[in-house]
Symmetry: C2
Subunit: 736 residues, 2 copies
């Protein structure tokens, strides 16, 4: 928390710059010369100028004009690294209000809103004040939308706008400070907190926090239960597996419901449907980008990843089982170290590559990338454990002898023959390996990951800043143009802050989601190995949530507040992991429950049909339970859906009232068919007589006139009944 | 077709009665004395009179008054069997029109219609004429709805209306005749045919015909493919199983889509949602009925069914494997005869019991009963084959010796010792048993079923009518009240027809659905045993569809035209059967593919793990394919959904136009954010100057006024760029 303090209190240089954003909506970081952000480039301090100053200037003029054309005010200030900062805000309040109203009406047209906006714009804006997220989203769209859709058509880092390094809103540091202080002082987020996040950072980020919150709350149960199992039961307990599987199902189904409910409450249900309806926009961009080429880049690290896992695996098996040389105690940890340090980095890199691709494509096609990210992470995160559990341990006897080859390589290091002798008979594999591995992945990796996410970027930035200072000093010594910009004293502190924010990387909520989903996977797939897992996750997630908030507030640029009506494809990933869990947990319990060494104490001697039968039952029970839970939850009416129904009904009723007057609407809404007009006997009889006057009419008319009205029908009916009734005794006859 | 001919042409007694319904909407068959319809009761001819004539009369008066109170005209005529027939129609056309309009508005309020009805009633009714189904549905609701919802509250056969035997609309014989003639003359139904069914019999029945049509069309492929496999490949071909499984998945997913599309086209999407929203009505009725008591009645035949199957099974095994006595050739067919004749009857009985329960509960709770019916039918239809395939054949060696007990019972019939000797060694089970069984179920049972459905009721009715004649003759001979009613000559033929229709049973579409779903189950689960199955089904279904139409037109009362937006829970049954199919087909192929006797020719020697692994893969491939097919189909936009979206959008746009004038709506609908107001540079500059006049203002104001308008921003930005740009050569400097 040193950074927080330094930023908010002791950093006098920044001063009161944190208390105002000068009404700036967005800052556009325009680089007129391409410099890479690497340390090397900083030291070189020779910007690359391929296009030349004139082109850069012409593009800059075009940029300013495009912004002004869509009704945005601009102010230009000096930036760092051969950049100018263009400050953007909506020129007139009236213009903004019109944009907001238009967007709301459009939402209603596409069915996102159930309630039509008030017909008078002014009244609507008073009833529903514009949130910061709404304003920022609309301004961003105004900047980035294609010209034919009414935007300025500025697409950062692509096409003619390659010079536009980033477009970002400024942090609201007063809010951020209060927010983080608030988060660190409480255990659970309430609805108000989520609404605050939503109003500042948009629904997409708010959904992440809502998910974290639900997940955290739900984790309390398995944490408590897992702790008990860890203390009381042997590992690989079937009891734990069943309860844990059940919990996974309930959690996933609960979240599905909760997600819909939140989307309704936030008025964004169906937003994803709208955003997918811009095929023209999407197609234009897909053709532009060499997607197939980029795809190859993803699969080449994947291959390397495979070899890495195989290598670590081989090293691990060799060191722990075959090698008996010096430093064995320490060397055993070598593959773990490799995996836990290299894997998160690789994962991050892969996700980065995927994310970059997504940025290039379009923000609307994120979904397909998320699926790719999930598959990649599934492999990197779970494959090592899969290998250990289902290949190494059961088939060790077959595998280990083949590792003899490795012996030759270590022979020089061995002190004597005995140390490298392959233990042919009485060979015992390490039954605790699996547990060790899961501990690394669920504890060590989490800590490493946290450090990578929060500490490394901070250190990196510090180094960069130092480098920059040195660099500017060198430049000054060399003479020539001063790189210290001539800021107005009133703005200096503010501009320093903005320049720092411009250097930050942008926040990607997908990365955070990935982390949580992968974590859920460990819980669902493997926590039966070590029931303490959920306890570790509970603790981690408390920190994680605050860490993420801290990251958003201080480590990254403020995110553009996108809307979303769901956590998207991660939901499918959750369901899939929960399903897979029913298979792996059953398999693990069957394989290892007998003293940690298979049903008969020898895991390589297990009955395959027994294993398969266990999996078969477990999986189908899982599916059955899932169906039951889903049905049960669907019976519970959620407040959000109730609200939506009521609103939709009210809107239609209002429409009817306006069209037909109060009465008709009331009647129709009453839900029943009301006898609208009173058909009295007299009118009927009158009608009949009218027809008689006109002659005898058709056979149909004659049929309906035989009994004039109800009274005659009753009389004749009674007669029929009396006649047809049996007369067994005289009493009934008399009654007639 | 004898009945058809007799009804339409030669029956002079009925005469032109078939050409008019005398504008009757509904006929209420009111029994003032309880007579059972059994033959015995007819011969006894002494009606049971527990309540007495006065009560019957009072209730009759109440009935007529209730009908008249909700605006219905009534005419009373004599009926058969101590009944009066009450003819009902809507008293005034205006009243009907109001009802129709009100119902349409209500549909819109609850979201069933996307297009709001025209605001002027008259214009709406001209634009969308009232179909017969719509009128009949509304009149039925008027008769049966509770009084607090504006109906007459008449509930047939329940509560105070126990005397109301049935409420049924009259057949439109002219349409029926043309319809059946049309059906028998063509192979496929087209959209027009389905719309005709929908307009006459309502969406619920129309969905059945639509399903039949889709199913029939889809069957052509497996029929052709199955025929080829039957000719070319050995039975239990894995190739056939895979293609068949794929076909099942595609069909089920296609139908899901098709169903939604039809619902939209027919304007009934979401109807089921509305109908479920009457909890009060439902609860009231559930409490009244002794459901738990009735449930027991269902499970007792279930037990008997179980014993029946076990018995048949034992007889079959014994006769074919152990018994060598006389008549063996004929006796082998005994269990088949028992099963094929008794099973459909039992199924019908069970379905009847379930249906009766449903009627008592409420028509809205049909769904839960359908699930029960499905489970019952699953057991009765598939259990015998399951037993043969997975118990009898693989475990015959273990089972057969235990049948020694049976030997003792047949010893007297045996001609010599040799005939009943248990074949201990060299015992060979009959590998064709499974095929024989599937042939019985898919061919014989279909024919028996058709006879039960169409021939038996016809014969039954003929017998009843004969009995009635004899009975009335006896009554006349005995003297006393004549049972021949004194009909008006003009109406006599019509009334005879109505009395006949009153005797018919009511049509239940669930029964027909059940039959088709069970058939689909044979195809999905077991057709790998005998690939000729789909050919038989294709032929059967051509007849079946016409038979069902014939049944609706002549064998049953005209159904009340209910609405529906789906085939309901049968859809889940289809998915389930398709899924199960992936398991059973894989198992059958694995067990029997090797020469029909297991992978190594000996089915009782199979590897359990191999079987389980086959099932595991088959099932998961099935699920994967299902997901893929679903995704692929969801990409295809269906005309119905397109129509719905367009309509919804148009409605909202219209609303906006009315509220805001043409322009704003156009802009909002354009989908883009348009620069609504032109913010010219001059206005901006003016604004800035205004603020300057007012003094220097806040720091924010000062920040935004440093550059007055676009021109200044551009100039200053250019300056920054020039200054910060490196000056490696003099040329660039000069340009500035």
């Amino acid at each position: 928390m040193a950074t927080l303090k330094s930023l908010y209190e002791t950093n006098t240089e920044v001063g009161n710059a944190l208390h105002t954003n000068f009404d700036v909506d967005y800052v556009i970081d325009y680089r007129f010369a391409t410099t890479s952000m690497s340390i090397l480039a900083h030291f070189q301090a020779i910007p690359d100028h391929p296009a030349g100053v004139p082109q850069a200037e012409a593009q800059f003029v075009k940029l300013i004009e495009a912004l002004n054309d869509v009704g945005l005010s601009t102010e230009v200030r000096n930036g760092d690294n051969c950049a100018v900062l263009i400050f953007v805000k909506v020129a007139s309040d009236r213009h903004l209000r019109a944009e907001v109203y238009r967007s709301r009406v459009q939402d209603w047209l596409y069915g996102v809103r159930t309630v039509a906006p008030e017909k008078e714009m002014q009244k609507n804006l008073e009833d529903e004040p514009v949130t910061e997220a709404e304003r920022l989203r609309l301004v961003y769209l105004l900047i980035t939308k294609p010209k034919n859709e009414g935007g300025a058509g500025i697409t950062p880092k692509s096409g003619e706008w390659k010079g536009v390094e980033s477009i970002f809103p400024l942090h609201d540091h007063i809010f951020n400070k209060a927010w983080i202080k608030d988060l660190t002082s409480k255990y659970f987020l309430n609805e108000k907190d989520l609404t605050a996040v939503r109003n500042r950072f948009g629904e997409k980020v708010a959904f992440y926090f809502a998910f974290m919150q639900s997940y955290f709350l739900f984790l309390i149960f398995p944490a408590g239960f897992g702790f008990c199992c860890w203390v009381l039961l042997r590992p690989f307990s079937a009891f734990y597996a069943i309860i844990n599987g059940l919990w996974c199902v309930v959690f996933v189904e609960y979240w599905k419901k909760q997600e819909t409910d939140l989307a309704v409450q936030w008025g964004v249900r169906g937003v994803s449907r709208i955003q997918h309806k811009r095929p023209a926009f999407k197609h234009e961009r897909i053709v532009k980008d060499p997607i197939t080429g980029e795809d190859l880049k993803i699969y080449s690290p994947l291959k390397r990843l495979g070899s890495l896992i195989a290598l670590c695996f081989a090293i691990e098996v060799f060191i722990s089982e075959v090698y008996n040389g010096p430093f064995k105690t320490y060397l055993v940890f070598l593959p773990t170290v490799i995996l836990t340090t290299v894997m998160p980095t690789l994962s991050t890199l892969l996700t980065g590559a995927a994310a970059r691709l997504t940025d290039l494509e379009n923000y609307e096609t994120t979904d397909s990338m998320v699926s790719k990210i999930f598959i990649l992470n599934f492999i990197t995160s779970y494959l090592p454990i899969f290998l250990t559990a289902f290949i190494y341990v059961p088939f060790a006897q077959i595998i280990v002898p083949h590792l003899d080859v490795l012996q030759l390589t270590v022979q020089p290091f061995a002190e004597n023959e005995k140390q490298i002798e392959t233990p042919k008979a009485g060979f015992q594999i390490n039954p605790h390996r699996l547990k060790q591995q899961i501990i690394y992945f669920t504890v060590t990796a989490q800590i490493v990951n946290f450090a990578l996410e929060n500490v490394v970027p901070y250190v990196q930035r510090r180094v960069f800043r130092k480098v920059k200072e040195v660099q500017s000093n060198i430049a000054e010594k060399r003479g020539g143009g001063t790189t210290t910009p001539d800021d107005h004293p009133e703005e200096h502190a503010f501009l320093v802050r903005v320049r720092n924010e411009a250097e930050l990387s942008s926040y990607n909520v997908t990365t955070d989601f990935r982390e949580m989903i992968v974590q859920f996977g460990y819980l669902s797939l493997f926590s039966v190995i070590w029931p303490f897992t959920p306890v570790s996750f509970l603790l981690n997630n408390w920190v994680e949530l605050r860490g993420d908030a801290f990251k958003i507030a201080l480590q990254t640029q403020r995110p553009v507040p996108w809307r979303a009506d769901s956590i998207g494809p991660w939901l499918d990933a959750l369901s899939f992991l929960s399903w897979m869990g029913s298979i792996t947990s059953a398999a693990l319990v069957y394989l290892f429950s007998g003293n940690g060494l298979g049903p008969e104490g020898t895991p390589w001697n297990i009955k395959v049909w027994g294993l398969l039968l266990t999996i078969f039952f477990s999986e189908h029970i899982h599916l059955g339970v899932q169906l039951a839970v889903r049905k049960a939850l669907s019976k519970i009416d959620s407040p959000g859906l109730q609200k939506e129904r009521a609103e939709r009904f009210a809107v239609r009723k209002l429409y009817l009232e306006e069209a037909q007057g109060q009465d008709a609407a009331e009647q129709a809404a009453a839900g029943g068919i009301v006898a609208g007009e009173k058909i009295s006997r007299s009118t009927l009889e009158e009608e009949a007589r009218q027809s008689t006057l006109r002659g005898h009419g058709t056979p149909e008319e004659r049929f309906w006139q035989r009994q004039q009205g109800q009274a005659e029908a009753i009389a004749i009916g009674k007669e029929y009944i009396a006649k047809a009734a049996p007369k067994p005794t005289n009493e009934t006859k008399k009654e007639l």
